[in-house]
């Protein structure tokens, strides 16, 4: 059949479409964003009217996917690793409800923090929620797994966690498609109480989930995604999880001399790991992420055969793996090229020339002068780049929504006025609830919702805030006199400084909304218009 050149993300999207998915739910986040974008651009998805709109955040997305599963259709929800924290309540409880239509939760992790605040390993969530985890090594496996995960989910009555990392998400390779499966027709759960997690029912459900554990383990041992590969040299046995397998093979172009267990489905395939232990003198555990299963195999007392991995220093404790690190752990020498010349300068990302956030920071710097530094709580978005020179404008960036709530806490501690800087998409994601806290207490904070009418950092996806910010803020109870609009342009600098000064003096909650469309998004829309006209 036809071979497509796809990013790991795109392979997952195509696999899910071909696997009978009825709805894709997501909030953007690197490196997961391209999955939903692919579904949105897919002709087949459009012809089938698959659900493919962005959600307000990862929690609402996950809950919608659970709802679709309840109604007996196949759903996938996609997010970056920190999004799983936001969705965690729904995620963990979905393991207890079980599924009706197949439910796939995709988490894209970002070891080495290329575009993230941390490098948490989503497999922990799958592990403690007691659900199966799939971790593809190649784009083809990513496709095959997305294709077959719905069925696995239905068979095991559990959501399936599909976990990838940046390298696979954003690397392209040839992918062969399978025949497209029809969508499920939809039917209510056989047990009408399955999704009611009252303690009495939840206890029953949870027992069933525990009873399924040996079945899941067995499924891993039988899975085509897990393989035992015999080597000739029994000095070392390797457990290679996900894409770590590729790095092992890369180092042995003529075949690996050692026994290898390729792991792409969890719980760990017990029989294969036991065989490896029996066959080999020492073990090497390779995980793209935190040493979750190394810890399990090693055990607290670590009294068995010598085990190498991230916990004994054979590999670094942090960061993504790569061919050199794995070579080093295997005792293979690599001849590096020339060193990087010392004169090279770093080239950090920066706010685009002409970006509206620049004008906001320029005005804020002046307005804040009388109050002193250290009081601007920022959020996550392009405006976080205000942390870098020449702006040096912000003092925090923790998690989505935290700008408002941290400002509240700091003001409670006496840091008045406190300022929060948040984007329109982030405000919708998790800022609204915090703002209500501030309204109820009339906190002496100034919330700047820097509205570029897009989700800029992740590539300009549509923001739910569009045209609604004023009404939302007013509806939450901010007094109209303290909801101030401004036009973030150089020529309005003086006016904007004045507005900020007035609101900083106000001893209660204020919201300032500077609105000007992201120049990248505007340019893209223009190009699209131009193209449409040409046709």
């Amino acid at each position: 059949m036809q071979k497509l050149l796809l990013l790991g993300d795109e392979a997952i999207a195509q696999g899910a479409i071909d696997g009978g998915m009825s709805g894709c739910y997501a909030y953007p986040g690197t490196p997961s964003t391209e999955i939903m974008e692919y579904v949105q651009h897919s002709k087949e998805a459009a012809e089938k009217y698959l659900h493919r709109q962005w959600s307000a955040n990862e929690k609402t997305a996950t809950e919608s996917a659970i709802g679709m599963s309840y109604a007996g259709k196949r759903a996938m929800v996609c997010m970056k690793h920190v999004g799983v924290n936001v969705a965690a309540d729904a995620f963990v409880n979905a393991a207890v409800t079980g599924v009706n239509g197949g439910l796939v939760i995709l988490a894209a992790d970002d070891p080495s923090m290329h575009s993230s605040q941390n490098e948490q390993d989503s497999r922990f969530y799958g592990d403690f929620s007691l659900i199966p985890i799939l971790e593809p090594a190649t784009q083809q496996e990513a496709y095959d797994m997305a294709y077959s995960a719905f069925e696995l989910s239905e068979k095991l009555n559990a959501p399936v966690l599909l976990r990838i990392t940046t390298r696979l998400a954003h690397s392209r390779s040839g992918v062969e498609r399978k025949t497209s499966q029809p969508e499920l027709k939809g039917a209510l759960p056989k047990d009408p109480r399955q999704f009611i997690l009252l303690p009495s029912i939840a206890r029953e459900n949870y027992k069933k989930l525990l009873e399924m554990q040996p079945v899941m383990e067995n499924a891993s041992d039988e899975s085509d995604f897990n393989r035992y590969e015999e080597g000739i040299d029994k000095k070392l046995g390797i457990v290679a999880c996900g894409i770590a397998y590729n790095y092992v093979m890369e180092n042995y172009p003529n075949g690996c001399p050692y026994d290898v267990v390729k792991v792409s489905q969890y719980p760990l395939p017990r029989k294969k790991i036991e065989k490896l232990k029996a066959n080999c003198d020492e073990l090497l555990i390779l995980e793209e992420g935190q040493p979750l299963f190394e810890r399990l195999i090693r055990g607290f007392f670590d009294e068995g055969k010598p085990i190498h991995g991230r916990l004994n220093g054979a590999l670094p404790r942090d960061g993504e793996l790569n061919p050199e690190l794995v070579a080093h752990a295997l005792g293979i020498e690599i001849e590096e090229g020339k060193p990087i010349p010392e004169m090279l300068a770093g080239r950090p990302p920066a706010l685009c020339p002409g970006c509206s956030h620049r004008d906001v920071y320029n005005a804020l710097a002046v307005a804040l002068e009388p109050y002193g530094d250290g009081r601007v709580f920022s959020d996550i978005g392009c405006y976080t780049l205000g942390a870098l020179a020449p702006f040096n404008a912000i003092n925090s960036c923790v998690d989505m929504g935290a700008s408002i709530t941290m400002a509240i806490g700091a003001a409670d501690a006496g840091l008045v006025p406190a300022v929060s800087m948040i984007g329109d998409s982030t405000f919708i994601h998790s800022g609204m609830t915090g703002l209500l806290d501030a309204v109820i207490k009339d906190s002496p904070i100034v919330v700047i919702i820097s509205d570029n009418s897009t989700t800029g950092m992740t590539g300009g996806q549509k923001s739910h805030a569009e045209g609604r910010l004023f009404d939302i803020v007013k509806g939450l109870g901010v007094p109209e006199a303290h909801i101030r609009a401004m036009n973030p342009l150089k020529k309005h600098h003086e006016t904007n400084v004045q507005i900020m000064k007035e609101e900083l003096e106000h001893k209660g909650i204020s919201v300032i909304i500077p609105q000007r469309e992201c120049i990248q998004t505007a340019a893209r829309k223009n190009r699209a218009k131009h193209k449409a006209k040409k046709k």
């Binding site: 954003h170 590729n246 050199e324 300068a345 990302p349 780049l385």
Partner: protein, 192 residues
């Protein structure tokens, strides 16, 4: 046949288009391909690279190991040097000499050029100028660089031209012609 290339530049300079052109040509030849890209934060004016691997046998790693690249193909002089540890002994450094200065501490171009010229195998051309002279727009400078790399790609010019037709076909005959011209101009410079 196996070739590992590191593409380098600054976010927005079009290295992914170069990757797509080589990739399309490779796939049309029935070769295996892996191409790791940088998406996300660094695309905002930061340094970006792409690992492009092509082979007639299945490829394992998405990343090229240090000391493993046959070629660094860069659209910017400073960026061409950032990945030197990845370049094989005897590998090619092919770069545009036109600096993209969006930082206050950009090094003296003269020093950068000294480093580039110290490489055993290098091709250094002003792709912007060539693109302007030949096709009237610096926008095609990335394709000029593809042309400059083409003698070392183990591919026929016609295969690359077909790939450009495939990639730019939707944008009309004019755009295709412009890019093919840019490709040939780059090739000519490299052969000098």
């Amino acid at each position: 046949m196996k070739i590992d290339i590191i593409l380098a530049g600054v976010g927005g300079q079009g290295i992914l288009t170069i990757a797509a052109a080589i990739g399309t040509a490779a796939v049309n030849k029935g070769l295996y391909l892996k191409q790791a890209e940088v998406h996300g934060m660094s695309q905002r004016g930061g340094d970006v690279q792409s690992n492009l691997r092509i082979s007639d046998k299945p490829i394992h790693s998405d990343l090229i190991a240090k000391g493993g690249a046959d070629m660094i193909l860069s659209v910017e002089p400073m960026e061409s040097l950032r990945y030197l540890p990845f370049l094989k002994k005897g590998g090619y450094l092919i770069t545009s000499t036109k600096p993209f200065i969006n930082i206050p501490n950009y090094p003296e171009l003269e020093y950068l050029m000294k480093e580039i010229k110290a490489m055993d195998h290098h091709v250094a051309i002003d792709a912007d100028q060539i693109a302007k002279d030949e096709v009237g727009s610096a926008r095609a400078s990335n394709i000029v660089m593809l042309g400059a790399a083409s003698p070392f790609l183990k591919m026929e010019m016609s295969e690359l031209e077909d790939a450009l037709k495939e990639l730019f076909g939707r944008k009309g005959e004019e755009v295709v012609e412009m890019n093919i011209k840019a490709l040939r101009a780059g090739r000519k410079m490299a052969e000098k």
